[in-house]
Amino acid sequence: MMFNISAMLEEIKASPYEEIAVRAPHSGFATFPDGLAPGAAVSGPAGEFREKPGTLLACIERERNPRAVTCPERGEIVAVHRELHGSFVEAGTELVRFRHFLSRGEVEARILKKALHLFLAPERARYYFIPAQDIKIKTAGPRSVSVREGDELFIMSRMKRETPLRYSGPEGILYAVYFSHAADVDARDPLIGVCPPDLVEQVEEVVVRVRTEWKEKF
């Protein structure tokens, strides 16, 4: 399968950011830090393990447990809902909106999503790797796993029921994992991206091109 890397890069360059709404993760009383205003630069988590939180955007307190709401990505503030300061907000209420400029890694991932063979979730459910593969992925990374048609790879968990799920598609290396154990995956959303041997060259080209051609804003 051939694809046009230049065209994809140009398409992303035309709209090099995404606007992200930061919402209250749960109900509680909201407060905003002083100085947070539209136009301010904000940073996302940093550190080798993303252990350093991003810029503080708000605080939600329930039952005397304050929870810091930090910026999930770097970017620039577009709006702060300061009218909610000191009031009780329900889960999901928009607190802050910011513009995130795509990094090289994100551009790479977007293009690769079009290049790799995507194995899609058959149903909306929560997914896990089977224990044997899970350990391998956690210790050596996803690319240590090669998959082939019929391999039992996942456990699909829905409504407290668990069903084994086999991989179907071309043989290859598990190149990208698109789900986490903590959240449901919608039907037809990708679970993994597999790189068949004949695509390795093109995938490497994507990585090189993005690294040389994409200029990060911050």
């Binding site: 749960h26 909306r124 896990y128 409504m159 449901d184």
Partner: protein, 472 residues
């Protein structure tokens, strides 16, 4: 007790939230509901939103976040929390916290001490054994180690062989589980280890606790329940009879319940069914007295083919199936029985106002759990859009549902695909069964999955099972 004094936060969803709203209205109590984004179209959310100009509906991130629920309780001015079933209903830490926090609230359920004593299968077994109440042979503590588990399983296997059971079966279940989740049978003892590992992994993922219980599987059993209600402060304890919950899916989840538990007037049993019902009721009451039980609760029993009862567990909460016991109970001086309303009244400190002698039983009740699932595929949940849910209207029928009747409803995948409860009343078993079939035939349930397949439901299964009610 009045609406001005009390405001109940209903910390649950779906059908049970709908029934609690109904009970609050019957008692003239104010209420507040919570919902998650997946439940925005649920009947309980609509009922709360449409209950009046005052805000009664709050969106939360999860029904599992105690901090958040209590913050909502404060923001909404709630004075009590009703946990429904599941979620926090049997969590004694939550019940204790609700009572002991700075702004104390009433917990609509037993006191935390009682939940701690009986909410755990292992504690219950130990207490039962100390009172001479028979329990299912098996482990009385969670087992984590594979070798220890296999050794114990082989002991139970040998025990069954000694009893003359030709094909012994062992039950492996997640210690922290409930509602039939995380249970598997082992027929070949040499395969025990693989089942143990599977259940342990499941328990770890679903309950964050790898503990596993091992029990003898009682074959061809009847699953009986005794409905108990008690006043606060070690007051009066009464029972609302027995019910039979033996008709279950392959995953040991209840699908059809009948009250009373056995009906010797209509069915011939190999044992003295009336004496057996009296015996399990007396054992249940004795345990309730021992722990100074103080709200609604259910004692769950299995009865072997030869009529031997074994206590399984106690549910220290309201249940899905309480309504079927209410349907055949009459409290002297009251119009109909609503066990949720009785539960709320007693939790708020009211006296029962009646004794056991004031409770009468008449007729037979059948409860159907209408569920979107495929009985031909091991009861796999079906997910899709319900386009029409239209139960018939009859004076012998009550239907409780969170599925709206005036618009389509997308079944959320985050929860069980239960659609409705239907409770049928009849003068006797024959009439109840006939009415049950009439209800199922007249029920209109239509829907399609995202891939365009027609809805799968358990209606046909329930119809076929109606032929076997209360038969051993």
């Amino acid at each position: 007790m009045s609406g001005k004094q009390h405001r109940i936060l209903i910390a649950n969803r779906g059908e049970i939230a709908v029934r609690i709203i109904r009970a609050c209205r019957a008692l003239d109590l104010d209420f507040v509901c919570v919902y998650t984004v997946e439940d925005a179209e649920s009947g309980h959310a609509h009922a709360a939103a449409e209950a009046g100009p005052e805000k009664r509906l709050y969106r939360v991130s999860s029904y599992h976040d105690a901090n958040e629920l209590l913050a909502v309780a404060d923001a909404a001015g709630a004075t009590a929390v009703h946990p429904g079933y599941g979620f926090f209903a049997e969590d004694y830490r939550f019940a204790r916290r609700v009572r002991q926090r700075g702004r104390s609230l009433d917990f609509i359920g037993p006191s935390w001490e009682v939940i701690r004593a009986l909410g755990d299968k292992i504690n219950t077994k130990r207490l039962a054994r100390s009172l001479g109440v028979p329990t299912v042979p098996g482990s009385d503590k969670p087992i984590y180690d594979e070798m220890e588990a296999e050794k114990f399983a082989r002991t139970i296997y040998e025990f069954q062989l000694q009893q003359g059971i030709e094909r012994p079966v062992i039950l492996v279940k997640a210690s922290a589980g409930g509602g039939g989740m995380g249970i598997e049978e082992v027929h070949d003892i040499d395969l025990f280890r693989s089942v143990f590992r599977r259940i342990r992994n499941y328990a770890s993922r679903q309950f964050k606790d790898e503990g596993v219980l091992i029990e003898q599987r009682i074959r061809d059993f009847n699953h009986l329940e005794v409905q108990i209600l008690a006043e606060r402060g070690a007051g009066r304890i009464v029972h609302f009879g027995t019910r039979n919950c033996s008709i279950q899916s392959t995953g040991l989840q209840k699908r059809l319940e009948v009250a009373p538990g056995f009906d010797p007037s209509a069915v011939r049993y190999r044992f003295d069914a009336a004496a057996l019902l009296a015996k399990v009721t007396e054992h249940s009451l004795a345990m309730a007295r021992e722990v100074r039980y103080d709200n609604i609760g259910t004692w769950e029993w299995i009865v072997s083919r030869d009529g031997a009862p074994f206590l399984m567990e106690v549910n220290t909460r309201i249940q899905v199936e309480n309504g079927v016991s209410a349907a055949v109970s009459r409290i002297r001086g009251k119009d109909g029985t609503d066990l949720i309303a009785e539960q709320i009244r007693t939790a708020l400190g009211e006296e029962l106002g009646y004794d056991q002698d004031d409770i009468g039983f008449e007729g037979v009740g059948i409860e159907y759990r209408i569920i979107a699932e495929d009985p031909d595929r091991n009861f796999t949940p079906w997910v899709g859009r319900i386009e029409t849910f239209r139960p018939p209207e009859r004076d012998w029928l009550s239907v409780y549902t969170h599925v709206p009747s005036d618009r389509p409803y997308d079944i959320p995948t985050e929860f069980d695909p239960n659609l409705a409860l239907a409770i049928i009343r009849g003068r006797d078993l024959e009439e109840a069964e006939a009415r049950g079939r009439e209800f199922l035939d007249a029920l209109v349930l239509e829907g399609t999955s995202p891939s365009g397949d027609k809805i799968r439901s358990n209606v046909a299964f329930l119809r076929s099972m109606t032929e076997h009610i209360l038969m051993f």
